[in-house]
Amino acid sequence: MIHSLFLVNSSGDIFLEKHWKSVVSRSVCDYFFEAQERASEPENVPPVIPTPHHYLISVLRHRIYFVAVIQSEVPPLFVIEFLHRVVDTFQDYFGVCTEAAIKDNVVVVYELLEEMLDNGFPLATESNILKELIKPPTILRTVVNTITGSTNVGEQLPTGQLSVVPWRRTGVKYTNNEAYFDVVEEIDAIIDKSGSTITAEIQGVIDACVKLSGMPDLTLSFMNPRLLDDVSFHPCVRFKRWEAERILSFIPPDGNFRLLSYHVSSQNLVAIPVYVKHNITFREGSSQGRFELTLGPKQTMGKAVESVLVSSQLPRGVLNVNLNPSQGTYTFDPVTKLLSWDVGKINPQKLPSLKGSMSLQAGASKPDENPTINIQFKIQQMAISGLKVNRLDMYGEKYKPFKGIKYMTKAGKFQVRT
């Protein structure tokens, strides 16, 4: 399946290579570089590139291209999904997945890659198993290892791979047993010029951080499970139980994991928590344009809209802008023409606005494209769909765990067309 992996940084250097079968020369990446040159934007590099003898399948994460070389038919999603899993694992291990982090931990990276694939076929991709095999580097451990010369490879051979619950480490012990669940919902929306909603959807995830000793068996139930239209589970969730009772029943992996992602059925009307008033105009023959933008909250159920960030790609003809924000700060990059305005919190009494003028290239005709406005925001302690967790119970262990549930709503791909 996967023959080799090359890691390419944003300046086009191969900084790591790993081969699982016979060595493939790194010159195969030339085809990739060619495609990269052709693509206008980094994300426009085609994920699958055929070459005379190989196929290159790549993903772009954290400005690093992970280029897998394959030689014969294999479902492309299989490789793509695996590469993303690799990135997730690196992130899990090193906190960040950057070129520097990978270079610093090149041995751990190599050990991980060795365990994750055997002859190009995925072997152990479960983070709990990997962490038993290869301990993640921490500052303390690095220091200890340097002094004592001990290793970061697990002394114990892991048994997780052999157990009935391969996603959970065995022999987990905590002094404080705690389980936290974050219900995070994202609104994807397209709002048209007049402010009416073209499409709006709510995607949610439940991310868990479970630190419980032993082999706890948890059940999580919702007040209104009917809201969930389409769900995908972590493998630990018992599917039949969900089908029958709409209850999440699972033996959790140890640590952080995504328990569930869901989609709220589109029958329910989606509440849009912010509105935008905008007036972006260019006049024919004039080298000036007007820019006015006002934000306001709506349907927020009394919760504050925070961390608001507005960004917009202005037309190429715009040379510079001269704007006046009522709060927050704005930046404009004259090269990429990207305007971004860090608003902060919306105060309903005094709505934030950004007004001013844009200067255009002299003599150029008025741009006929309209910029789109992208908005990011956060609302704490609320799930916009109204989803509520009913209760969380634990079986199989004697102690009383500390349980916590947090709700949050965020903007996903929230666009306003002008």
Partner: protein
């Protein structure tokens, strides 16, 4: 990298400080002499290299080329590594290995260190060992001879008692691409394939394709191994072996038959990567074995779909005759569809895609829709995932438009999408457009046209063109919209519009002469060659509609002819020729002029065309025979172009495959076969349940004794429950999935039985396992002696000797299954054999003389027993937990015999399922008087754990406690249900301690005696 170098860096400091002084004074260095020698061996110039190493890495890949050659040019550095590898400190070895791995990662050649590294293959330190493995696998191919040095280590590893070490030894051994060890690999794989541990078997499955790629000659023996592993019942192995199957012998579809149902049932518990491989393989399998569920529809829609389904000629003729009979789905086909459906909820995009393609290729048309929701969900994933999914959705949406219609808005384009995603979404939107949805789609398209991404705008214009051709109602609207675009400022947009308008006009040119006029005016401004060419073609083609403008355009073009692009020149020639034929008065000279210009053009195509046209249209003395047909040739009615999706007919590739994505057959792609005309024999997939149980028993017995193997135990329970539910469900399948929605919302009753066993907690699993074992026990008696020597206690006791019985011999044995009519009774099997020459009649029990409390359930009277025949019957006796004999009379039609049955104490009980902690708890309550301990010397033949289990279970009807640390057995007496707990603890020197805990002290004492006897034999 820097962190890696911290050890040497600190060493540097130490050496620096130590340089002036005596080394012995350094507190760190004193305790260990060898370390000190190394540090002193590091000369200052080497230290410079160490530090330089760090800088080189930081400098990045630009310096790498230099460093690459520098690597060889710096033998010093490698000497230093070699020295570290040769030292006897693990920490130094580790440090050296880490640096070597870092070199490998950067693509530097580290092969000259091979001899030094390979020596450390047997190092005790796990991390060093692992890194050595990494190195070996990378360089062994280049250093075949030296690599052989390491082989013996792996061979030793293959025999290790720890399954993980066996597995990792096999993994590395099979990854070393050295041809000389092929026979060793083959042997190792064969051994590992029958290893007790499923994990080792999984590794064996992984090793198969490795060996095959190294030496394709080994195909046949490898197929044997694959066949064997395919029969494996553990989820761990299933994915890997199917992977091997796909790599080595995907054509051997016959190997799948027997394992088909098992694979379907195991599927949900296989790890996600294995699921993908199995689903793809089963898709192909199903295409060869089942009938097309949409066959009837094909017949209906033959007109449209014939290209695809009817591509084979032979299909056409038989079809009509056959398809008359109603289609009934094969239960196995249904089983596959049903068992894959829950996987649509997987978090792994590849699994979801695999299920979606399976449904697309195999499911009845009405059911394919269930996958749409999951596919739309994937659109929220990473852009690479989106890219692949959209490609597949594009293909699906052509064939099954309805399934995505409700999700139309999910394909709306955002300005932040990458261009390649935008274009694919457009493709899908265009495919989905219908009379009802077209208006909103067009409104969407209007906003897209204002986008800043010009490539995307061009694609949108093409999409509008396609919508217009496909849906007649909106053609005029689209055309008007496109004409408006002609005044767009961006030339690319205008050009693209011209091209599309040209195609649209071709469909109904009469009504649009003003558009043609408008476009003729545009030729002044548009510079894009394709657009110019399109306009010229339009004017030429419809010159009758614009009789005044056309000659003028030609005049202008004649002026600029020499500076035009080739395609434009060709169209100018075309225009000239057409005008000459329709309006020769005005254009004769112009045409001549253009033809002359073309005659001397640099491009031979244009010269050729000019010559050809001249001959054709200009009458010459030779009187070209064709010139009278010139009008027909040039002004023939041309068919309007059909604007088709580039994704049309891509579904002859299996969806989700690389080949489908590239629309080219990739290496190793397995064609998706066409449905068969008649279904092959479905019975090939039948697996005889009885046989399976027998086999299972034989396999299973040894591992009772093997405490290492907990997982195996549970897993075999899985497979057992699965085969059970599988055979059941496959027989009653039809009713299920028809209403897909209802299944989503409401709980399905039958779903219960298929509860993922893997996810149950341990207790349930073990109970399940217990049931399965009880089952075997139940089945046993009828053929116990032949099946297994395990239950040797089923020996037959004599009730009536043939001499005493005057030719009638009667024997009995204890069946050990629960007596059906009364749970307190012991089952006694009685076997009559008639050795007389005449038949015996009316065999029955009479006048039982029993101790108080004892009860007897007689066997039904046997009317006739012909001479020489044997008959077996069953009776139940409640012995009241005592070993007192039950006396009764056995009567025939002529005689009566007084007989008695005396049970061994071990038969007065029945096994109980118990977990170890329960066992310990119960044992704690039965201490003191109730506990009897004996030490014994184990007999010759019962040294192994396995033998002990056999002996104990033979002596008494008790059940072993699963996964117990010692040999523990539990049972309860038949009548009073008192627990009987037996523990055997083996000691080193062939001795063992036997403990029996039982409330009934008499039973306890007797049992101890019996077991002692059994074990010390």
């Amino acid at each position: 990298m820097q962190r890696l170098l911290q050890l040497p860096a600190s060493a540097v400091n130490m050496v620096k400080t130590a340089q002036g002084q005596e080394e012995a004074k350094s507190p760190v260095l004193t305790p260990d002499g060898s370390q000190a020698t190394w540090y002193s061996a590091v000369r200052p110039d080497e230290l410079r290299h160490l530090r330089a190493g760090g800088e080189v890495e930081d400098a990045g890949a630009s310096a790498e080329e230099g460093a690459n050659t520098g690597g060889q040019a710096q033998p010093l550095r490698h000497d230093d590594l070699k020295e570290m590898l040769d030292s006897n400190k693990d920490s130094l070895k580790l440090e050296a290995m880490k640096r070597i791995v870092a070199m490998m990662a950067r693509g530097k050649n580290a092969s000259d260190l091979f001899p030094a590294v390979v020596k450390n293959v047997a190092c005790k330190n796990i991390e060093v060992k692992k890194l050595v493995y990494v190195y070996l696998v990378r360089y062994a191919e280049e250093q075949q001879d030296l690599a052989l040095l390491s082989i013996s280590t792996f061979q030793r590893g293959l025999k290790d008692p720890n399954q993980l070490i066996r597995a990792s030894a096999l993994r590395v051994l099979s990854s070393i691409r050295v041809t000389i060890i092929i026979p060793i690999m083959m042997l190792a794989i064969k051994d590992a394939a029958s290893d007790m541990s499923p994990y080792v078997r999984k590794t064996a499955a992984h090793a198969i394709p490795k060996l095959y790629s190294l030496d394709p000659e080994q195909k046949e023996p490898l197929i044997e191994v694959i066949e064997k592993l395919l029969a494996d019942k553990t989820t761990l192995v299933a994915g890997s072996v199917v992977m091997a199957f796909e790599g080595v012998c995907p054509e051997r579809i016959d190997l799948i038959h027997k394992n088909y149902r098992k694979l379907c049932n195991l599927l949900i518990d296989v790890e996600e990567w294995g699921q993908v491989v199995i689903i793809n393989m089963l898709t192909r399998y199903a295409r060869t074995q089942f009938l097309n569920p949409n066959a009837n529809e094909v017949l209906l829609e033959e007109g449209e779909e014939k290209e695809f389904y009817g591509s084979d000629e032979e299909e056409g003729k038989e079809e009509k005759v056959e398809k008359k009979k109603p289609y009934v789905m094969d239960p196995d086909h249904r089983l596959l569809l049903r068992n894959t459906k829950p996987l649509l909820q997987s978090r792994n995009a590849a699994v979801v895609m695999a299920v979606a393609q399976l449904y697309f290729h195999l499911a009845p048309k009405a059911e394919v829709g269930v996958t749409a929701k999951a596919l739309v969900r994937l659109l929220r994933s990473h852009s690479e995932v989106q890219f692949v999914v959209l490609q597949n959705v594009a293909t699906m949406s052509i064939k099954r438009k309805g399934m995505f219609e409700t999700y139309l808005k999910s394909f709306y384009i955002r300005s932040t999408d990458p261009t390649q995603i935008k274009v694919l979404k457009l493709e899908v939107l265009t495919n989905l457009a219908t009379e009802t949805s077209i208006s909103i789609i067009l409104r969407e398209f209007q906003t897209y046209i204002k986008s800043m991404d010009k490539d995307f705008v061009a694609a949108t214009i093409q999409a509008i063109g396609r919508c217009a051709t496909n849906i007649g109602e909106v053609r005029d609207t689209c055309l008007n919209g496109l004409v408006q675009l002609l005044s767009n400022r961006d030339e690319l947009v205008v050009a693209e519009s011209v091209v599309v308008i040209k195609k649209l006009l071709q469909m109904q040119p009469e009504q649009h002469s003003d558009i043609i006029k408008h476009m003729a005016k545009l030729i002044e401004n548009i510079q894009v060659p394709m657009a110019r060419a399109s306009i010229l073609w339009l004017i030429g083609e419809y010159c009758e509609h614009v009789p005044k403008i056309a000659p003028d355009v030609l005049r202008k073009m004649a002026k600029s002819f020499t500076s035009e692009e080739d395609i434009v020149k060709l169209q100018i020639l075309n225009l000239a020729a057409k005008l000459y034929l329709t309006n020769s008065k005005q254009t004769k000279l112009l045409t001549q002029y253009v033809l002359n210009l073309a005659k001397y053009d640099q491009n031979y195509d244009i010269r050729d065309r000019a010559r050809f046209i001249r001959q054709l249209i200009v009458p010459t003395d030779k009187g070209g025979a064709l010139s009278k047909y010139a009008k027909k040739l040039f002004l023939a009615l041309k068919p309007a172009p059909i604007l088709e999706s580039p994704f049309k007919d891509r579904d002859h590739f299996q969806l989700g495959s690389l080949s489908h994505l590239l629309n080219v057959k990739a290496g190793g792609y397995q064609e998706l076969p066409d449905w068969p005309e008649t279904a092959p024999d479905p019975s090939v997939r039948n697996v005889e349940v009885m046989d399976k149980r027998k086999e299972k028993k034989k396999v299973e017995k040894p591992f009772y004794s093997d405490s290492e193997d907990e997982s195996r135990l549970t897993e075999s329970a899985d497979s057992d429950s699965n085969t059970g539910s599988g055979s059941e469900s496959s027989s009653a399948t039809e009713e299920s999935d028809s209403g897909s929605k209802s299944e989503d919302s409401g709980g399905e009753s039958e779903s219960e039985q298929q509860e993922k066993p893997n996810r149950k907690n341990g207790l349930e699993l073990l109970k399940l396992f217990w049931h399965s074992r009880v089952l075997f026990v139940c089945i046993l008696p009828c053929s116990a002696q032949t099946i297994s020597p395990t239950f040797s206690s089923l020996k037959t006791y004599e009730l009536l000797h043939r001499l005493t019985g005057e030719g009638l011999a009667v024997g009995y044995c204890f069946g050990r299954q629960p007596f059906v009519r009364d749970p307190h009774m012991v089952t006694v099997q009685i076997q009559f054999t008639n050795h007389m020459d005449t038949e015996a009649r009316n065999l029955r029990v009479r006048e039982p003389r029993l101790q108080s409390g004892m009860r007897i359930k007689e066997f039904p009277e046997i009317e006739v027993l012909p001479p020489g025949e044997t008959v077996t019957t069953v009776m139940g006796i409640d012995f009241c937990d005592s070993t007192q004999a039950a006396n009764f009379q056995l009567c025939t039609h002529t005689r009566k015999f007084c007989v008695s049955i005396q049970p061994p104490v071990g038969e007065l009980m029945a096994p109980v399922f118990m977990l170890e902690n329960e066992f310990k708890k119960e044992q704690g309550q039965l201490m003191g008087m109730n506990e009897i301990k004996e030490t014994l010397v184990l007999g010759e033949a019962c040294q192994s754990d396995y033998a002990i289990v056999q002996r104990v279970t033979a002596a008494a009807n008790v059940g072993q406690v699963p996964c117990g640390s010692d040999q523990e057995f539990a049972g309860k007496t038949m009548t009073s249900n008192s627990l009987v707990l037996v523990t055997v603890i083996t000691k080193r020197d062939r001795t063992a301690q036997l403990t029996v805990n039982c409330e009934k002290m008499v039973i306890g004492t007797m049992l101890v005696k019996d077991i002692l006897h059994a074990l010390s034999q």
